[in-house]
């Protein structure tokens, strides 16, 4: 039994031999943040009365959705066999959109706890994150969580885990983040099994930036892991990639509130504050050294996350455009993964084309923009980035269908992913059928155990970012899980489908699709619009076209009656108020030629069929 440490280690004066740096990695919802809660409690860094569930999920949106978006690092004191240790724990997100958060956290650690829900077993992000950890040469501690659940099958999944990473099923620890069972033993095991960090305390300082967060009070807070040497307050530090120098205003550790220290030494994890206002001046992956004794070799980079899906964001009320612009600028201070540039749409007015890591990232960003800046936004149908080569060899990157060139196209390349799907064997057929429909090419299949397979496909990104996961879930009765990563591009037979209202093209509804799917898109969109656009005083043809060729058509019949039958003395006030409301409503109409299209119709036509809110969670 290991009590919380009686004497805490002192930052900047801690022997690397008593430091253990680890992160908790898992599939989404397997209980990382809840396990972290128990660690915060057991080590005494969070007082009992201040404790709340998923303590480290601090953003409103994390709490509401019950998911982790940002990694959080915390220094925890722990004592074993009379020795005080300093543990740096990093809780990571599980959702595939935020895999880049996991990989940057791994760079700060020697070990990882691979957490698996004992009622679910190994899932796709378990494998993806395990793979990342092994790539980083981390020592893995396999742990089964939620063993308090009646549906838990610890023996079965312990065998699966042991099978996956080597070792014996008995070596797999059993814990419950909910009840706390097994968590002390886990902390002890971390101290025993994970290697201590090694580094040269006398060498020039080198610290790896693994996170960089903008805070309106403190400016940019940079999270680092010191590899060599020492960082001290009031020193001038230098970013090795840009050679930019900054005054170190504050240095400290999170426990989990920020605590200023006399510095950080070899193997320690903590934060730096320099007064810079933009996370791009303090880039994740960069190496920090000191100006008076600069290192010559940086620690080796970490790549900027690459946006995968693009969507146009437009304020419903055109006068909100400057608010949206400022809001996006603030967001990028804190989110290096977010990129944007202004664009205009004939139908929607002024807005921005914004690049995201995935649909969840899009959804969360949009929701935060709306909430924190009191905006009403329309987001256009998400797109991937196409590379179009013209016959004159000019190459264009197209993220907005309305920028798709007309004619004279030599080839179009679309981004591909390699996807890993885990599911019970009985669903293999259904999954293969789905992937086939999505233009996938099978890369291989492995049995993880008798009743579980891993299926690998190469698929166009455009085929999986939208509804693929929802469909996979429903075809596997909830048991299938998916992970994917970018995997180059390929030449494809793609076309742009335009939607015309009364002969006028509506840019916001154009889409780039595979030629075989153009017809389905045209039928779907024209059908949807017929339902969504109110009848007008004249007939409105709705067409879908590839170039000049019409591939689908619908029509909205002219309205024949728009009059209230009765308007007597007692009806006048009510009728006038209705008229005032309709007049207001008219202001919310977008004119496409002479056709009045309610903004709600744009929103509804551009959103996917089912409300994606809670499904996008997984």
């Amino acid at each position: 039994m290991s009590p919380m440490a009686r004497t805490a280690t002192v930052p900047a004066a801690t022997d690397p031999a008593v430091i253990r740096n680890f992160c908790i990695i898992a599939h989404i919802d397997h209980g990382k943040s809840t396990l972290a809660d128990r660690m915060l409690q057991l080590t005494g860094v969070v007082e009992q009365r201040a404790m709340k569930a998923q303590y480290l999920d601090r953003m409103d949106i994390e709490r509401e959705r019950g998911i982790t978006i940002k990694s959080q690092a915390v220094r925890l004191p722990w004592e074993l066999d009379g020795v005080s240790y300093a543990l740096n724990m990093i809780d990571t997100p599980g959702h595939v959109d935020f895999t880049y958060e996991v990989s940057r956290s791994l760079a700060a650690c020697e070990g990882a706890i691979l957490l698996v829900d004992a009622a679910q077993g190994i899932e796709a992000q378990t494998l993806a994150n395990l793979y990342l950890a092994m790539e980083n040469n981390l020592t893995i501690i396999p742990v089964l969580n939620k063993i308090d659940l009646p549906a838990a099958q610890p023996e079965k999944y312990a065998a699966e885990l042991a099978n996956l990473i080597g070792g014996e099923p008995e070596d797999v620890l059993m814990v419950s983040g909910k009840t706390g069972v097994g968590v002390e033993a886990l902390l002890d095991k971390i101290v025993r099994d994970l290697p201590a960090p090694v580094g040269d305390p006398t060498a020039p300082a080198r610290a790896m930036i693994f996170d960089s967060v903008y805070d309106s009070y403190r400016g940019v807070v940079t999270y680092v892991r010191v590899v060599d040497g020492q960082l001290s307050p009031r020193e001038r530090i230098q970013m090795m990639s840009t050679r930019a120098t900054h005054e170190l205003l504050e240095i400290g550790v999170s426990s989990p509130e920020p605590v200023p220290t006399k510095g950080l030494g070899v193997g320690e994890v903590g934060y730096l504050i320099t007064g810079v206002k933009d996370v791009r001046q303090s880039k994740v992956g960069d190496t920090v050294t000191t100006l008076h004794k600069p290192a010559t070799k940086s620690l080796g980079g970490y790549q900027d996350p690459k946006p995968m899906v693009f969507s146009g964001l437009y304020p419903l009320d055109g006068t909100d455009y400057p608010v949206l612009r400022d809001a996006l600028e603030k967001f990028t201070l804190n989110d290096a993964a977010l990129v944007y540039e202004p664009e205009t749409s004939a139908a929607l007015g002024f807005g921005f084309r914004v690049g995201f890591l995935g649909l969840l990232h899009l959804e969360i960003t949009r929701e935060r923009l709306e909430r924190e800046y009191n905006l009403d936004l329309i987001s256009t149908a998400p797109n991937v980035e196409y590379e179009v080569t013209l016959e004159d060899k000019k190459v264009l990157k197209v993220t907005n269908p309305s920028e798709y060139p007309v004619g004279k196209i030599a080839e179009v390349r679309e981004p591909m992913v390699s996807a890993t799907i885990l599911a019970p064997t009985e669903f293999v057929g259904a999954i293969m059928e789905l992937c086939q429909q999505r233009r996938g090419v099978m890369n291989g299949m492995d049995y993880l155990s008798e009743d579980r397979v891993e299926i690998r496909y190469r698929l166009p990104l455009a085929e999986i970012v939208f509804d693929f996961f929802d469909i996979l879930k429903s075809r596997t009765r909830g048991y299938g899980s998916l992970d994917w990563k970018a995997d180059g591009d390929q030449v494809s037979d793609l076309v742009k489908v335009d939607i015309l209202l009364q002969g006028e093209q509506v840019d916001a509804f154009s889409a780039i699709t595979h030629r075989d799917k153009a017809y389905a898109y045209g039928v779907m969109m024209t059908g949807k619009l017929r339902e969504l656009i109110p009848r007008q005083q004249f007939e409105v043809p709705i067409q879908a076209a590839i170039g000049a060729r019409i591939i689908a058509r619908e029509s909205i019949r002219a309205i024949r009656k728009d009059v209230l039958a009765k308007c007597y003395g007692g009806d006048i006030t009510r009728k006038r108020k209705l008229l005032e409301k309709q007049k207001e409503g008219k202001k919310r109409m977008k004119m496409v030629g002479r056709v009045e299209v309610p903004q709600e119709a744009f929103i509804a036509a551009l959103s996917s069929d089912e409300s994606s809110k809670d499904k996008s969670k997984k």
Partner: protein, 409 residues
């Protein structure tokens, strides 16, 4: 008059009107509306402020109602005088409901007499009551005529039994010609109300109703597209799928059919839902609403208007009677319209009329629409050349859309 009251400013206990009400009152006609909030049964489509109980108590029971209404007539005369409005004899009177004729004819004539005492009645004034065909007798109609009524408007609605059933109407179709004949005998002008587009009503059914109504040779017909009012039994039946939903295209076709048959029989439209044999047969009381006249509405939930001030009474008969017993105004709320809002109402109401609205009186945005409205066959070109905006048949069916286009931006 739907029973949900609008939101407005609170009205003072003494009922005194804002100064605006008196401005220019001399040149405006004055009328009286009397609301009788009782019915034998509540029809499934009906949203009017009406009650089927005989005994509401506290001055609101059917027996006591006439006395309560007379109390408001007296209060009204006082309030108008105290608010600086000149005493004007009534040019029109309209008893509506509910079913006014559910009360004994004597009660209606008592209320009318009190009003005549209070304000006087113009020579040749129109005095109408609504009536359900099965709530009148030869004698009661004679008594109404003797007591000063000049006109009766029967709620016929349909001549087809299965349609009447969906509408929850209790009268037998044969009752209507009989009631019309009695009214004629008593010297009353006759109007009938029709409803079209009832779920389950075929085009033939509707044609039967129109032809039957015309066969009674009324002076006037009102024909209303059935409105599914929120909160009614009909709305619930449609929501649950027990009866089919109503359909605007069906309404348009039935309106067109009726308008043609009415015109062929010599009845001409003068408002979107109203047709009269001659201009003199138009309902002058209703025209007064659309032309911006002043009127006082007595009774629970009744609306009144004077010079751009609109007010309305408390809705429940018991609350209404209670106010009057304490000598207080029954007004619940009111609104004082500013000039742009009055202008909006003027366009909204006058556009519905066959007499039309002066194009030169519209704002620039409205005037700009005129050529397009002609091109779209929504207004009559010949009238437009005479500075009058008058709806075509197609335009009548899209009157609300036309109004929205005529309003200032």
């Amino acid at each position: 008059m739907p029973s949900v009251l609008p939101l407005g400013d609170p009205a003072p206990a003494d009922g005194i009107l804002p100064a605006q009400a008196a401005v220019g009152a001399d040149s405006r006609p004055f009328g009286l509306y009397a609301h009788i909030p009782f019915c034998a049964v509540r029809c499934g489509y009906c949203d009017f402020n009406t009650y089927t109980a005989r005994e509401l108590g506290g001055g609101a029971s059917q027996d006591e109602y006439a006395a309560t209404a007379v109390a408001e007539v007296r209060l009204a005369a006082r309030v108008l005088a105290d608010s600086g409005l000149p005493a004007r004899p009534m040019s029109t009177v309209f008893f509506g409901g509910g079913t006014p004729t559910l009360l004994p004819a004597r009660d209606l004539t008592t209320i009318l007499r009190a009003a005549v005492e209070a304000w006087g009645l113009q020579e040749g004034a129109e005095v109408t009551t609504e009536a359900n065909p099965d709530s009148v007798t030869r004698d009661s109609l004679q008594e109404l005529a003797d007591g000063g009524f000049t006109r009766v408007s029967f709620g016929m609605q349909s001549a087809v039994p299965h349609v009447l059933r969906v509408l929850d109407r209790t009268h037998r179709p044969e009752r209507v010609p009989q009631a019309v004949a009695w009214a004629r005998e008593a010297g009353l002008a006759v109007s009938v109300d029709l409803i079209y587009g009832t779920p389950g009503e075929s085009m033939d059914d509707w044609e039967t109703s129109v032809r039957t109504a015309l066969s009674y040779e009324p002076d006037h017909i009102s024909a209303y597209a059935l409105i599914v009012e929120e909160g009614t039994k009909l709305a619930a039946q449609i929501r649950r799928g027990q009866v089919p939903a109503i359909d605007d295209d069906d309404h348009a076709a039935k309106y067109t059919l009726a308008d043609g048959l009415f015109a062929a029989a010599g009845l001409h439209w003068y408002e979107v839902s109203n047709w009269a044999r001659t201009p003199q047969d138009a309902c002058r009381h209703n025209l007064a609403y659309w032309q911006g006249a002043d009127w006082w509405g007595i009774g629970p939930g009744a609306h009144s208007h004077a010079g751009g001030v609109r007010w309305w009474n408390v809705k429940h008969p018991t609350a209404y009677a209670g106010r009057l017993q304490h000598g207080q105004s029954p007004a619940a709320g009111r609104e004082t319209l500013d000039a742009p809002t009055r202008e909006m109402e003027r366009i909204m109401l006058q556009t519905r009329l066959a007499e039309g609205i002066r194009i030169s009186s519209l704002g620039p945005a409205g005037r700009r629409e005129v050529p397009l409205l002609i091109a779209q066959e929504l207004i009559q070109p010949a009238a437009a050349f005479r500075d009058l905006l008058v709806l075509t048949l197609k335009g009548r069916l899209l009157a609300d859309a036309v109004v929205r286009r005529l309003l200032p931006d």
